[in-house]
């Protein structure tokens, strides 16, 4: 790879600070807490699915009823276990009883409760094995194809209708895409439940649902076989249902999930505590299922200036990495994200972008870095905007990014038309091929702008990490250190769904995940 110069000691120190920052959050906000969505995920993990007669997802109904009729701080599963113990019902029936709100008020005997809890534990082990089996099958399927050359070509489909999405995804794969991301309807992250079934509506995308995942996965597996090239599937887990969607993604064989430790806080005003807990749980699921997560630092540069605030991206990457480690993720699955968002009218903008791209690629050498295309400075002139994408493609190839999001020349206009996506692939295919070995033929001069800029960004990121560590991440966020947005620990959406675990909190799924991931905590 094209080498740049920067101080490796600062990198090591930065990592240490980041570990402290995330560790502090883990101790103060994550360990000892659960959330509505974690509880719901636990139920889904154990096979609870479908909706109530009122159309509410059953897992939501169960959690709500436990909150109303019992003590959620002990975990939904304890309520279910109790019902099993009292009424002798099996797990599913007990879940239904809890969901109906007719759970018995008689306290169970200690032994019956132990037995019920043991049954649930056994079920959890079984279900874990089932999930692991799925994961293994997928890995085998993947291995039956030649691995693709990086950067991988990542394309979005966003028609708002899952069936149209399938048409577009197939066309994109045929034209050369390696990864298909199905964009979600705007504001799904604010829904405190996961919609059900195949959906044909939404703004800017359609809903992330289990059925939609299945439909698209099936289509892509089919195309993969046809093309002899494995097509990765991506969706979004960020939002109030982060762990649930992570589980559904894992269950339906998704390869990549958008999953950031802070995105929901900053960009969706979701409560901090809620997000910290949820990201942890969801990442444990990703860890055991070997799902690549994608973080969202690219978003910072849509609200902050990409030159002035470049270092905030790097700072946040260190923190996201530290959180992922706590959840037990391997670097190979940390798709840390950054972006090509410098104002194209700035002199030497390409050198600055290249510098940043190389720096990040160097600091996280094992990670499948996700590189986002220009968006903010794209204009209504597609001929021109296509050129920004070309230079982005060149920067990506020269710095050998891993997951390369294809830019759209109509970014400033609309969700991509079928032909926009096709042109985007022509663009990337041309540039990647034309500059195939360019990076290996050149060296960066010691005293160059590229090197100076890299060192500058790194130093600033380091300073910010120091500062954040001193203040605590929660306070740093309240001070607007990231994305120029301020959020507070007690406000934001979903705050009511976070609770301190009681002493008798029961959740074998949680336990298995903690055990299997063995994160640095």
């Amino acid at each position: 790879m094209l080498k740049i110069r920067y101080d490796r000691k600062i990198v090591a120190d930065s990592r240490e600070y980041a570990a402290k920052i995330a560790g502090d959050i883990y101790n103060r906000f994550i360990r000892g807490f659960s959330t509505d969505s974690i509880e719901r995920t636990t139920l889904r993990f154990l096979g609870v699915e479908g909706a109530t007669s009122l159309g509410q997802p059953k897992v939501n109904s169960v959690v709500e009823k436990v909150k109303k009729n019992s003590d959620i701080s002990l975990g939904v599963l304890l309520a279910v276990a109790r019902e099993m113990a009292v009424s002798g019902a099996d797990f599913q029936s007990a879940v239904n009883i809890v969901s109906d709100g007719t759970l018995s008020s008689i306290p169970p005997s200690r032994e019956a409760l132990e037995k019920a809890k043991n049954n649930i534990k056994r079920l959890a082990v079984l279900k874990y094995e089932e999930l692991a089996g799925k994961r293994r099958k997928r890995e085998e399927f993947k291995k039956s194809f030649q691995p693709q050359k990086t950067p991988l070509r990542y394309l979005i489909v966003a028609t708002g209708n899952i069936y149209d999405d399938v048409i577009q995804a197939r066309a994109a794969a045929e034209a050369g895409a390696d990864i298909i991301a199905v964009i979600r309807s705007t504001a799904q992250s604010l829904l405190d439940y996961v919609p059900e079934g195949a959906t044909t509506e939404g703004y800017g995308g359609t809903y992330a649902t289990q059925e939609n995942f299945r439909i698209m996965r099936e289509a892509l597996d089919d195309v993969s076989k046809k093309l002899g090239r494995y097509i990765y599937l991506t969706n979004y887990s960020s939002g109030l249902c982060m762990p649930e969607i992570a589980f559904l993604g894992a269950f339906e064989g998704l390869d990549v999930l958008l999953n950031d430790a802070m995105y929901g806080i900053l960009f969706r005003d979701i409560n901090m505590k809620r997000t910290f807990c949820d990201q942890f749980f969801s990442r444990m699921i990703c860890a055991v299922s070997r799902i690549i997560i994608n973080t969202g630092e690219d978003n910072y540069l849509t609200t902050s200036d990409a030159v002035e605030r470049a270092h905030t991206v790097l700072t946040s990457l260190f923190i996201n990495e530290a959180f992922a480690k706590i959840a037990g993720m391997k670097p190979e699955y940390m798709g840390l994200g950054h972006a090509f968002e410098i104002n194209p009218q700035i002199e030497d903008s390409f050198s600055l972008e290249l510098s940043q791209a190389l720096l990040i690629r160097h600091i996280f050498p094992k990670s499948p870095i996700k590189y986002m295309p220009p968006t903010k400075h794209m204009t209504g002139d597609p001929f021109y905007s296509n050129l920004l994408d070309a230079m982005f493609n060149l920067a990506s190839k020269m710095s050998n990014q891993h997951i390369h999001l294809l830019g759209m020349m109509t970014e400033a206009m609309h969700n991509p038309l079928i032909m926009d996506r096709y042109e985007s692939l022509k663009n990337v295919n041309y540039i990647f091929n034309a500059a195939s070995s360019l990076a290996s033929q050149i060296q960066i001069r010691k005293d160059s702008l590229i090197n100076r800029r890299a060192q500058e960004v790194l130093s600033k990121a380091y300073e910010l990490l120091q500062k954040v560590q001193k203040e605590g991440l929660d306070n740093a966020i309240s001070n607007g250190e990231f994305a120029d947005i301020k959020r507070y620990s007690d406000s934001g959406k979903g705050v009511e769904g976070v609770y301190k675990k009681g002493k008798e909190y029961f959740n074998p799924v949680f336990d298995i995940l903690l055990e299997k991931t063995g994160g640095e905590r």
Partner: protein, 249 residues
Amino acid sequence: MTQLFSNLIKAYGDRRDDGVIQLSFTLPVEYGQKAKQIGKIFAEKLGLREVNVTAVEKVGDGFTMFVVYGHCDVVLDVDKIDIPVVEFTIYSREEVDTLIGKNIGRKIKVVGACTGFDAHTVGIDAILNMKGFAGDYGLERYRWFEVYNLGAQITNEKLIEKALSVGADAILLSQVVTQRNIHKENSLDFVKRIEEKGLRNRFILILGGPRIDHPLAVSLGFDAGFGAGTKPSEVASYIYSRMLELKDR
């Protein structure tokens, strides 16, 4: 290619009145020998002459993309086109501040937000926040503006409530997402609520966003509309001149 009268115009390729334009589109037809002609007929049906289909490419099974150049006979009489324009002088920030101080004599209160599901705050922030846009400071920086920026993802109702509670002079609504005309629907909803409350003449109503323009805003019931690339000083100048007009009445 006869030369038209000077007020009548046609598209200009490289000569007056040649009418040349460029199109691109996708048709749900299989790529193959016939595709090119289908693309040509499509362009002809749209009214182009001497259609030159320069690209015919397969974008997927059953879909073919076309690029076409052709001559188009649309003629516009520019003198007869009546386009509503916002008429006001654009001042610098310093000038606006001086003028408000002198001619209005009190702070102008503005409340702004990006309402509905739309979460794009960068546009409204560019107009309202200190930082501003393209080197032009935002309204918060002005001595004679009092700014309430409610950010994004709040309801129209809340925005109106806030405007009432602070006694705003102007309400600034931002709309960025336009998919399936959500921006128009949401803007109409906003104006309807204002009207139902009998508040239409209480506030100066301004709409903004990358796909907004003045005629559209007016047609939706606003006083003015501002599109892509708007500078805060333009908005400040407009509000000032509107305030002056209202005062005079």
